[in-house]
């Protein structure tokens, strides 16, 4: 592939017992791209992210980051390389302050020179996601939208090259989603490559340059949002015919 590829998976599979959770998936992310990853529940989206960040070992296939085979990396190595991810279910350190939560990322993944330097850098990330005012509150007291923002700040703290966002918008109301969309665009503008897992079609179709569709572990389609929205297999497996009708307009400008 072209030199612009930052992350690539080749023939990646993961089986749990007899279930093929990820089935021979090959895809690549170009530098600076925003790629949407969609598919029904249980399609293997989160498993795929887990394979790419070393959380789970792959059954077969390879993961290549910046030309380097990273298939067997441990999660902390992925983090230090700049492969960051957020969790579908937010995982703050509950009894630490918001600032300390983010400092963990700047200290361990981004390799800040001292705890003090890490804390200063963490403050900037908190400002960026709009959590500056909550720096000294305990993470467990945050509301859901704030927790989602904290999760984003933590992953930004890792100075990511590729950021995988696993349903960062689930459970937010539409005003909050607009703010989140703006935030993701600003992250992308910093040159971060983004893989976004989403069930909210409004988010995926308006953000993504390209969309990949997983179904029963296999990649059944990838392409520009407008093409994907019209794809018969995708409509049958996931979107439904009503969506295709209703959202012709939405994807037109994608």
């Amino acid at each position: 592939m072209s030199a612009d590829v930052i992350l690539e998976v080749r023939n990646l599979s993961k089986t749990f017992g007899g279930v093929r959770a990820v089935d021979n998936v090959s895809l690549s992310l170009a530098r600076g791209e925003i790629v949407g990853l969609i598919g029904p529940n249980g399609a293997g989206k989160t498993t795929l992210v887990n394979l790419m960040t070393g959380v789970l070992p792959a059954t077969s296939g390879t993961v290549i980051f910046e030309g380097l085979d990273v298939t067997r990396q441990k999660p902390h190595q992925a983090a230090r390389r700049g492969l960051a991810r957020t969790f579908q279910i937010v995982q703050p350190f509950p009894d630490m302050t918001v600032l300390e939560n983010v400092t963990a990322g700047t200290l361990f993944a981004a390799g800040a020179s001292s705890i003090r330097a890490a804390r200063e850098e963490a403050r900037e990330h908190l400002q960026f996601v709009g959590l500056g005012r909550l720096a000294d509150t305990l993470a467990r007291t945050l509301t859901l939208p704030d927790r989602k923002h904290l999760e984003l700040a933590k992953s930004l703290a890792m100075r990511p090259r590729v950021l995988m966002l696993d349903e960062v918008n689930a459970g937010l109301n539409s005003g909050e989603i607009d703010a989140a969309l703006d935030l993701i665009r600003r992250i992308s503008a910093r040159g971060v490559t983004i893989l976004i897992i989403e069930h909210l079609m409004k988010v995926v179709f308006s953000l993504s340059h390209r969309i990949c569709v997983l179904h029963q572990g296999a990649l059944i389609c990838q392409g520009k949002p407008a093409e994907v929205a019209k794809d018969e297999r995708v409509i049958r497996a996931y979107l439904g015919s009503r969506f295709a009708e209703r959202h012709k307009g939405l994807v037109g400008n994608g």
């Binding site: 960040t53 959380v55 902390h76 969790f87 509950p94 963990a104 361990f108 993944a109 705890i115």
Partner: protein, 319 residues
Amino acid sequence: MTIRDNRQVVGFALVGIGVILVALLPWLGGNYAVRVATNICLFVTMALSWNFIGGYAGYPSFATAAFFGFGAYAGAILQTRGMPMLPAWGAATIVTAVFAGLLGFTILRLRGHYFAVGSFAVLELVKLAASTWTGLTGGGTGLNVPILAGGPEFAGRVFLYAALGLALVTFAAALYVDRSRLGFGLRCIRQNESAANMLGVDVDRLKIAAFVLSALFVGTAGAIYASWVSYIDPTDMFSILMTIKVPVMVLLGGAGTLFGPVLGVVAFQLLEEKIWSSFLEVHSGVLGLVIVLLVFALPGGLLRLLERLGRRRAARAAA
């Protein structure tokens, strides 16, 4: 932030006063007081050590007595074979730390209760080895360690200062860890190990470091103890009571804090002395009951209680 700094100043001041008192004890109190203080210093070492793995990292280890006994046997065996006391202590420290490091690779894969049970098994295994390897350890008849020359009073002082010095070194290590990257990483591990890993914390390496730290100075403490009491046997050295007492002391004071373990040891020892004298017949039962009450009623330990009282007073003063 400033309130916290003030509290730290108070903590350091109290530790300083405690150190001076213990150092002057040979002139202030009798042999009994010196013995109690030596004991307290050894327990402070063990409590601060346990705090690395059980407090900061949140891994409930029951291996403390295993390391204590291991260090005691290592020191005693070397001393009976002619090594002078101080080098024997140093060697016992190193051997215990290496033992913990090797052990850590295997049992730190276990989490939560499984780890607790695994660490308990270590205690039983080491005890079994000490009881059956008669050629090396003397088996059930135990080992006699050469008695320090110079009379009991002199020896009492030597062991008091050795235990005090060791407690201070351990405290310095705890202070360093508390403020370092290692301590920060361990706190992350306690709260959410997989999230910590995902944020770039090398959890395996940090856990092994904490486990080795939880054994290192305990090994020295065991060796000092062996030289001090000059006779060791398996049941005394690998006692289940001790392996439970140390975590209880830390929980009593406040786990995962710098001063909590020190406070816990002092409070526990005072409590034990009091109960020992008042309930001679049933003291273990009463002590057990007190432990259960304390752990359930004081989940954050005495340190948290003091903090809460201080905050309430500050709020009342403000109103």
